[in-house]
Symmetry: C2
């Protein structure tokens, strides 16, 4: 897969030779560098977000498996320009452990490293693979906004601060209609009958809140949005970015049908949608399903969200 | 779905009131206008390609059903600025009939209309719904390149000529691993067992060349590429644009694995890949599968391919 990405988009990404790391095709830019990654199977996350205005490197583990610390370390070393490196980690025990170990090793080599942990999934407080909430599709907004801040020449502290601000203001919840199959396993990781769905699903098929008979698109959105809106305070006039993210096997048609209801609910609460993103941003291999992400915005976040980005998976012209 | 698209992307598209037509959100531009469309279920085709550098309007029929002539006529009237309108039609009997009837009605109202018919699918000469080859994912390159030509202020004849040039040089073939379900029908349109695939599938699940036991990604690509490369002459040093298009339920991971082999085959033949596009461009609702499109390029096509485009489904920054 990594070979296929590099062959497809040599103008965007290059392989760090000998490692499962994608770096920007253009040479290093004199700024704070952003590194993210995790298990594979979530494409375009994270290699598809390497490029102008977003990440400097993405580290790819095996499917649904954290990359090892040595891989992360090499990514850090490849992109550091002496201004420091921010690691954006999704909250999974394996990722936390391996990325933090890599951070320590890099610091031992004299590289300044900061870390942030995304935890936007409102579905469950702890889960199969996490202490605390899971980091899911909202992570893409962290890449976008912290990446834009780094391009302005901000310091590592400043880039970390804006990443933390996104994390504090972003919430996600998902649903699955059909399970995903890890290739090496060869059969679905869980079972759902044709007329069932799993609400609050994780991006590796981890269980959510409840399994229910299939409902209409509007009913599903009502359920997910209620959970999300209960978790973060909104006032009339607030503005949000919305992401209707596909799990991998859900076509754009269905995502837009979900968005119709998302927009209606927000309008009903007097919340203005500043910008909407619909498509595959953080997939779960071939799972059929979707997640809804809301990011509460202020002027600073809005400006950084609209800043130029040119990556394979996220473009802001 | 159309409501969901407009609510998601009001900065790109608006609904032509009372019709299933999406037009550009910004006001009419003084140039030749491009109109396309067809049955729904192929998103982001075609509404997702409305915007700067591509289409001026897209007409959406019911799922897998041609829009009626009156809808197409209204689209033409909405976007014409007196410089004429080019209709880009995928080769399906219903689309040809309805778009051509709309063209006649528009001409009766004094609007100059030209039409082109895309027929890039090399799989079968005639099919369930066509006389001649089917128009499939290669249509997106027609939108892109003819759209770029129109933005330069070219005449209707010139825009039609470049569209014809793309059609003459673009070839596609697809494969399905799982069928799609038309919502109103509620069950899959055809049957494939877990270990079968259909080679040469159409974008509505029409039969292809043969049904075979499932093979590896490389073997599938070898088969598709052989058919495509047999159909159009290439010489060492030729350049192509490649599109690895997802059918709707196939995740980016799998498309990139296919692309690896596509790139290898082209490199082996001395054909240079100028630009590769990977993702959902012309879907078949929730079909699992993919198609490979090659567009043979010259300097004129290369320049127009890289020209700025800013639409929901296709961005060239």
């Amino acid at each position: 897969m990594l070979e296929g990405i590099v062959l497809a988009h040599p103008e965007y990404v290059a392989r760090l030779e000998g490692f499962d790391v994608l770096i920007r095709a253009d040479k290093k830019i004199n700024k704070v560098a952003l590194v993210s990654g995790g298990g594979s199977g979530h494409e375009p996350a994270h290699g598809g977000f390497v490029g102008t205005g977003m990440l400097d490197a993405a580290v790819a583990g095996s499917v649904f498996t954290s990359p090892t610390p040595d891989q992360v370390l090499e990514a850090i070393k490849a992109v550091d320009t002496g201004q420091g490196v921010l690691l954006v980690i999704k909250n999974y025990t394996g990722d936390i452990m391996n990325f933090e170990m890599a951070a320590e090793l890099a610091e031992a080599e004299g590289i300044e490293v900061a870390t942030v942990v995304t935890n936007d999934d409102v579905a469950v407080e702890d889960s199969l693979y996490t202490t605390g909430r899971r980091g899911v599709a909202g992570t893409v907004f962290v890449h976008k906004i912290a990446g834009a801040r780094a391009e302005t020449g901000a310091s590592l502290d400043e880039v970390k601060a804006i990443a933390q601000k996104v994390i504090a203001n972003v919430r996600t919840m998902g649903v699955a209609l059909k399970p995903c199959t890890v290739p090496a396993v060869g059969k679905p990781g869980f079972e759902l009958s044709e007329d069932e769905m799993e609400l609050g699903i994780g991006i590796h098929g981890e269980p959510g809140i409840e399994r229910k008979p299939l409902q209409t698109a509007d009913e599903i959105v009502d359920y997910l949005m209620k959970r999300i809106l209960n978790d973060i305070e909104f006032q009339v006039g607030d503005e949000v970015a919305a992401m209707i993210n596909g799990a991998g096997a859900t076509p754009p048609m269905e995502l837009y049908i979900l968005n119709r209801r998302v927009s209606q609910i927000l309008a009903g609460k007097g919340i203005r949608v500043f910008k909407t993103f619909v498509g595959n941003y953080m997939t779960s291999i071939d799972m059929a399903g979707a997640s809804i992400t809301l990011l509460k915005l202020d002027d600073e976040l809005k400006e950084l969200l609209l800043a130029q980005a040119d990556t394979v998976g996220f473009k802001m012209c």
